[in-house]
Assembly symmetry: C2
Homo-oligomer: 164 residues x 2
């Protein structure tokens, strides 16, 4: 048995990584090993992950890793639309879009909203066009030219709402 270290790599995650590599190569982006590792950590997590939590995990594979290591990878992944930052949590999640709502007609810089459960920490990405339009319209009504929009709702997820 050669593989002494139980990496336990989720095949679904690996597939998503390959797909992501393709997608960003098509845009001139370069999915390096480091970026792949960081994205793997994010996709493997069940909840938004802080940059320093990623750093800790990353050091298992890269002992010399430092804050800029992970922040640079995160910056790239965000530009590629593979990862979003949850501002209220100072944490990062993989984009649920590529499989879930690319069919909405949005590209890799798609509008999105987060539903953050304050009890269990579950964070769900949704892509509601009514919300996106309402926000853009409200902004433009004042002469403002919107570029990027953050919408984050804190509350109770369906499961926790029932339990409460």
């Amino acid at each position: 048995m050669v593989d002494t270290v139980a990496e336990s790599r989720d095949p679904a995650v690996e597939a998503a990584l390959d797909k992501a590599a393709e997608a960003c190569a098509a845009r001139g982006g370069q999915m390096t090993e480091l970026r792949r590792q960081v994205l793997r950590l994010i996709l493997s997590a069940r909840a938004p992950v802080g940059a320093y939590a990623l750093l800790d995990q990353l050091r298992a594979a890269r002992p010399g890793a430092a804050p800029p290591t992970v922040y640079r990878a995160l910056e790239f992944l965000q530009e590629q639309g593979l990862v979003h930052k949850v501002e209220r949590l100072n944490a990062f999640v993989g984009c649920a879009g590529p499989d879930a709502h690319h069919h909405c007609g949005h590209g890799h810089d798609h509008p999105h909203q987060f539903l953050i459960c304050g009890r269990c920490g579950a964070t769900t990405e949704v892509c509601d066009d009514r919300v996106a339009h309402a926000v853009a319209d409200a902004a433009r009504a004042t002469g403002f030219v919107p570029h990027r929009t953050t919408v984050e709702v804190e509350g109770l997820c369906a499961a926790c709402a029932l339990a409460a």
Copy 2:
């Protein structure tokens, strides 16, 4: 001449402070001198202010001021709905609501959105019910129970959009 230090207090700000003191007294809140000073600094600023910028200014009046000093005041002011935090900037602004959109029918815990100019830094608070409803509806459609909502749009303000 007794007043050797030129405080240059904006009378409009002072009026707002008095009004704020009333409003939060009516809710059982206590507008102390410290909290009043912090709120004055925020209301006197033209753009969102970071906690440590507030701290620096506050030290002019309170040499012993430390981070908890300003964070505790900010927590109180946020609870009272007098101040909002702009998540994308990690900074704080006075609520534009008490004069501007209390007539919308919202209380001191009103929904609001920020329009943040990436060029000049101007940050405008708006209160659009269509946005608030769209977000709440999108959340509830998934069984989520919304509690607090953050909506922040980064882009170009009307003036900067013309200049560009």
